[in-house]
Symmetry: C2
Subunit: 96 residues, 2 copies
């Protein structure tokens, strides 16, 4: 199992319609084949400047690669992520 | 529910006995009252320089504070975390 997470901050004002629209578009990633345990999260620690997180799990590397290359993911990154996200960090975990 | 996570890199050489001893000590945090869904994780994304992660969940802020102040947690931070961790970032999530 690989848990893919990304923590991020948007360019949009907090509570704005643009923020809500982005988060709704992000939730649609859950429908891409191979995505399990999808979560849209609010980042609440005052020790970093990120606002939100996405977390999802894949059975293996092949499933993760399939998601990464899927046209819906590629379009989301191009059309929503790159123009609307101010800062982000990807963190991927495997059980030990 | 609050999910407290921390991603980190150790000062120890990868695969060393010191690394294993640190991770064993970290796993003992799971026994502190209020800690749920504890996970010790390997960070595998090449897009950051962290090696490991810890993830745990608390029912609410009070349970999280109780963990933070617990003598076993305070001792772990003082005796193991501060001397042995090279870099880290805390990320806390709540469901949206």
């Amino acid at each position: 199992m690989i848990r893919h997470t990304v923590v991020f901050r948007l360019k949009h004002p907090p509570g704005s319609a643009a923020e809500a629209a982005f988060l709704e578009a992000a939730r649609a990633l859950a429908a891409i084949p191979g995505v399990q345990a999808f979560e849209a999260l609010r980042q609440v620690s005052p020790k970093n400047d990120y606002q939100f997180g996405l977390s999802m799990e894949f059975a293996d590397e092949a499933a993760y690669r399939g998601y990464d290359r899927h046209p819906d993911h590629v379009a989301f990154v191009r059309d929503r992520w790159l123009p609307e996200v101010a800062a982000f960090m990807e963190i991927d975990y495997e059980p030990m």
